[in-house]
Symmetry: C2
Subunit: 472 residues, 2 copies
Amino acid sequence: MAVVGVSADEEKPGNRFLRAIRAFGFEGELYPVNPDENEILGLKTYPSVRDIPAPVDLVYISSPARSVPQVIEDCVAKGVRAVEIFTAGFSEASEEGRRLEQEIVRLAKGKLRIIGPNCFGVYCPRGALTLLPGANYPSESGNIAIIAQSGGLVDQLIPAATGHGLRFSKIVSYGNACDLNEVDFLEYLASDPETRVIAAYLEGVKDGKRFFQVAKSLLDKKPLIIWKGGLTESGKVAVNSHTGSLGGEQAVWEAFHKQTGAVMVDGAEEFLDTTALFYHFPRVRGRRVGVVGGGGAVGVATSDICERVGLKIPTAPPRIQEQLRALLPPNGTSFKNPVDMGSPLPPPSVFQKVLEILLSGDIIDTLIIDRIFFYGGLQPMGVPAADAEKRMEVLLDIERRTGKPMLAVLQEPAPDTENIDMEVSRRKVRRRFLQAGIFVLPSLDRAVRTLSNICLYYEKASLNHRESNHEP
Amino acid sequence: MAVVGVSADEEKPGNRFLRAIRAFGFEGELYPVNPDENEILGLKTYPSVRDIPAPVDLVYISSPARSVPQVIEDCVAKGVRAVEIFTAGFSEASEEGRRLEQEIVRLAKGKLRIIGPNCFGVYCPRGALTLLPGANYPSESGNIAIIAQSGGLVDQLIPAATGHGLRFSKIVSYGNACDLNEVDFLEYLASDPETRVIAAYLEGVKDGKRFFQVAKSLLDKKPLIIWKGGLTESGKVAVNSHTGSLGGEQAVWEAFHKQTGAVMVDGAEEFLDTTALFYHFPRVRGRRVGVVGGGGAVGVATSDICERVGLKIPTAPPRIQEQLRALLPPNGTSFKNPVDMGSPLPPPSVFQKVLEILLSGDIIDTLIIDRIFFYGGLQPMGVPAADAEKRMEVLLDIERRTGKPMLAVLQEPAPDTENIDMEVSRRKVRRRFLQAGIFVLPSLDRAVRTLSNICLYYEKASLNHRESNHEP
């Protein structure tokens, strides 16, 4: 791999990229290119790509925009097949930039493929490839792929994703998409055996028809989550100055969603939450939600919010209500579903029986646990502290035995600087749950919105499956 | 203060309450009442309220429901003026409970006032009063009041609120509201000099007309935030079994909002975020938002989300754009507003000038800062780590000099258990910002939604003010 435009200045992007990819553990040869230096970071440096005395598979370009056409010519001459262009200042910036971009497309056509310009490139842990700021990104692979027109967004998502326990197959930041674009990446990932879930942040789409076809073919095979930026008037202006893309119409994307089943989300939080839930959850069979909570307004809040997003909270049949009534205190509790145990600190044995009873009838498809304390520091006086861990073990055990998809709300307990121990405990519990496939979010709002997204997807997928098999 | 129904069993509510209020630092005399014990927790115990050999101001009742009418009679005989009834099992539970509740109302009428039943009671740090689980609630007062039909909700909100730097004047959990209800509390808080912002979680409203009048009189005096539970069909069922209340109609509450200016929110997160922003922010003059961010899709995301909730992002005039253009790199940046500095790690001096330039024209009412790093641990190689703190000082200084309302998005950086140091840093920066009146939220979505809530409120308040002064 060659890196064109590496300065000896440690603050410049080429230098930073070279150090990042070495720190990340790239195992191939690295060739810095800079006509004014002989050696950078201890590596022999070449005046141009043509001068490198070995085959080059990939070239990372961070030299100034006006120099890029010459670099592309050098790459073609050298037989390079692919380049990533970090450099900005092309169609997103000015008319002159637009002409430069057309020029490099012309030079590359039929000879090499371009990712970018104005992008961060590819993060692919299996190939030990990383982006400019990504020296510390996880080195293990997972089965989520992200395509994102914004590289900065990727750098925002990856650290946050590690908290959800996520790992990735490939992430592509592709900027202006002058050659390879979102459809190419989507098509590649559709058939990539390493990828099971695909999430895309798009500003513009170059070939709507093909994009639609590939997206449609993914339904019931790999969930596709799309955050489309620039659907409002102000957003369109911002998109244009960010990657030179055209925004798009809300109505078009709603129709796209209806016909492809792709999950449309708004904003970084919902984008990541939804992707993470697909990663951790098995296929969800329907919209029927069971809720077990511990007091507060948990029953009311869950009911209101589930109904607003189209989830169902079926009333438990009399047999289940009677069994719960025999087990729980008569007051401050509710047995109908939502099941309100009256306190976030129920005795572990009671918690276990409540879960077993609620899951004994086939009345729900997923289970939400809200406002039950699974870690210490929140026990009031008189409640055994060890019970918290026992409640966690109870939930893990029930999940193992029933395989029921479960989502636990673990609120930031007291997010003050002094109480950092509780935050540590919360993260430990979260990790245990995530490892077991129990999804965790910090608020009920986010949990329900995310669950609704994946329920609607699987419903659409099943319908599609039945239609294509001519089943009733 | 007497506590009726205190068992020697440390897990029972009466005992827990007694210990909580002592631990919280209540300074008056405490009289446990229990006919079967002589001493509980080292305090002399009385067979009934009548037997206490001193005046009693307030009685906390946690004895079984069927015993409560007798306790009320004893209180009346003793000349007690107010009781809090923790005990549940009244109108929310059964027909028999409903009759019991009517009985205690009849016994108390004209003689003493009741909070509850089925409630946690009052938290009032100035009076050293706290709720059952609230031994560790903050002992300092603030100027926010909460009225909440659900006590468990209060116990969920208070710890979370400390992370927002909030402190409270009074919090009332009032359950079934058989005597004193939401209107009484609202009326009291309207004229309470200690209270500046009022937030209410309501399940039902007993006297709609009076509630409307009091709410309307608050406009432009004290912001009123309302989370109304039970507006959906499932929610209605849940409120009925929670506090025996009637849910309500969405349309009625929309009209209520239009006519009173009360801010309507959904869910615990928006409830607390909005209350906190009113607490920290000065009066906001309008909907015009300036955004300064550091790369990623910050410009696009902010533009889309602001437009969706009705906020305006005015394009900076040419003079400002030119000054920014002279200062920032030409590529990967944007000068129009949102101002994208291209990187979350701008040099502090550049960050300062950008803020000064953007604020130099009177084009915005509030400023959102997103994706700028204010603490260490996120610097890639080649960027001075001390710059993070300098950027924080720059923002604090600009806020001091301009008084412009500011909202900073501080994302959870890498919420994995191993990276807890970064979380500690984040909370320290948050605290510095909150102390200076710069509001902080962990995501852009929440920041914009919250800002929109308070902008609409102040707009309504100004309109009302002009109307009542016959100004044009």
